[in-house]
Symmetry: C2
Subunit: 444 residues, 2 copies
Amino acid sequence: MMDPQKGSNSEQAALADFLSRRERLLGKNAPLFYDTPLHLVRGEGVYLYDAEGNQYLDVYNNVPNVGHCHPKVVAALTRQASTLNIHTRYLHHAILDYAESLTNTMCSSLSSVMFTCTGSEANDLALRIARQATGSLGVICTDETYHGNTAAVDQLATLFNGGKPRGPHVKSVPFPDTYRPPMEWDANDLCDRYLASLDRAIAELEEEGLGVAAVLLCPIFANEGVPTAPPGYLQGVVDRVRARGGLVIFDEVQSGFGRTGNMWGYEYARVIPDIVTLGKPMGNGHPVAGVVAPTDLVDAFRGDVMYFNTFGGNPVSCAVAQAVLDVIQEEQLVKNAAEVGAYLRSGLRVLQQRHDIVGDVRGPGLFIGAELVCDKSTKRPATETARLVVNKMKDRRILISKIGRFDNILKIRPPVIFSKSNADQLLETLDEVLVEVHRDGVLK
Amino acid sequence: MMDPQKGSNSEQAALADFLSRRERLLGKNAPLFYDTPLHLVRGEGVYLYDAEGNQYLDVYNNVPNVGHCHPKVVAALTRQASTLNIHTRYLHHAILDYAESLTNTMCSSLSSVMFTCTGSEANDLALRIARQATGSLGVICTDETYHGNTAAVDQLATLFNGGKPRGPHVKSVPFPDTYRPPMEWDANDLCDRYLASLDRAIAELEEEGLGVAAVLLCPIFANEGVPTAPPGYLQGVVDRVRARGGLVIFDEVQSGFGRTGNMWGYEYARVIPDIVTLGKPMGNGHPVAGVVAPTDLVDAFRGDVMYFNTFGGNPVSCAVAQAVLDVIQEEQLVKNAAEVGAYLRSGLRVLQQRHDIVGDVRGPGLFIGAELVCDKSTKRPATETARLVVNKMKDRRILISKIGRFDNILKIRPPVIFSKSNADQLLETLDEVLVEVHRDGVLK
């Protein structure tokens, strides 16, 4: 029998062939989105198109931050790739011009750039720098995080590693969450309780003789589900880690480049880190990433270690990244993320009033989490319903995802060109879908 | 007083400004080539051009393997970047078509691909796969190697890390070198002696309870200076490591894609590894890289670990890599590397007869090492003279480099489009430079 959501029998057979070829060439379990995967062939602005020509509103992808296939970015890519693409042991202007443009958007202490190709490489390098600078090995992260896929960075995560424990030099602390704190904690005391966990992690690292090299955090706790942290929490973390000689690394791979309605996540968080790491949206999809740190820290690291990254900072990557920065400024996308983000959050809060299943709406700028719960008082996570909602939204040609410890938080994170009319389309469709899942059965 | 090699006073002042800006933005000690760094602005085919319009013959760069800014590669890049650039959790054809084209050039056991953005990420991932598959931690490498810049891969190298020892789970073995073996070893017994070192490394890893996860080797020992290994050495390594349950990883980042006059370094070495890692020339400068392994190994890893690489295998990277593969085949560049490589080696051997300083000429295809020595009988490395030769070649508008434990081996490794007439230009100029350094003073 034919499933109307899955297309005709011949379409289903074609998809089965596609998937079996994919399993053979990329391995089983190569990750895919949606119950019925989506085959995309074109992107433009805030829209993606599937093989049948259907248009999807992209409310998920933060990498094509200034819009899919932005013509200025593609033009810069083509121009430089036609002219010169070479490593950085020859001199070229593009890398210096971009490094200057980039650091000019940051506070004065963040003054030198080490280029990499991916956010994983950037976080891996930042940890190397911190360990080199402090002579300590210990690293602190949150307990529901992900910072990348290298062996060293993977030691911080348990999220995707099949339940293995964190690496030997890593301590985790509960991520701060005023909506869903540990049950036994007093709501008036949350900041102190979360910081007390940090104090314990620091003490353990010191007792084990590892010391504190760094805390590595996303300033908006993106992979934790953009929880709302208690006021003062991040400043407390920074003060405590610095007091023990550690460095504060902010992973701005997701929070950077305007996402929060500020240029940088650390501005949103109102805390200045020692090091930031960059990635995803930096090249609008082109693999360029990096570490920004005080010049003396970079000097000291480079003095000890001959770090070289073959593709990192090549003129093509820098021309692309410069075009992305220019577009963010010309199109005032930071302001747009702030304004459309606020508009969308308030629309979602109307839905929260209307639908029992929406327990919390939060997040900075255009990174919004809408937490689905079976019951607003018990806050029992509506994990299965979140899966249904995401798939039903896709069937209605809107792409969102879900995230969080219980996989029950709708992840709303469009390119920062997202408009109020795009937001209206999202809100109307989500309203319909929430009505439908409620009508169709019990929440779970 | 003006140094004619360094240009006018105003040119020198401009260079000083450039370098001071670079130190501020990228940190002191960001690596640079040549005594007076080269400022490049354009590349085309086998040529690079500096800011004054001077043309340089590129006999160094292996990344722009099919030639700088190859129009077919740039066209593929532009076409796909204008159409769709997205991660791999949606379906797209480009990644499967490329994975199929790529694995079709390899032996049947190398059947599935995991895409990354850099060779460092590929080696880091290959070590994760090997440790996961074997349940062992120990890794064996050579004693003068470099496989990349992540924290885990950096543990294999001592070459660029300021003299720190290798990581705790790593054992190194002397790289095989029939020209410069340990003095006390019998020349007739070299293969057995080198393999005995490997046996000891395996035994140590087993005694320490680490076991053997993998040996990670470049099949042409590129960073060791393309030494000639004793016949049977690599097969001996493979047999011994497999016998102890370890996997054989060949780092084909430099040896792959036609460099050796074979498509893959393992064909040149006549040994089939369990896993290969790819990088540098794969996208002719575009950041695309990967791990190729048996499907069951990839399945098992992906079953345990949710490995995802944001930019890895995106349609733009795959379109570019496919264009590179197509150009290699259409322009018969593997055959070219074999033929021009042989021609160049025999020309260099003529120079070796003519110049006392050239102690050895070796290497596969278009990766040639010419070892400079103060004296052909003692083989004392002519390190300082090698530096002079490389800089004098640059002043004559030919780019080569040097490599090896003593930094005395001329590194001759042009794009694989290099022609016999390019080879003639290199040979004539090198002949002149060798005459000049001999005339100018003592070798050192």
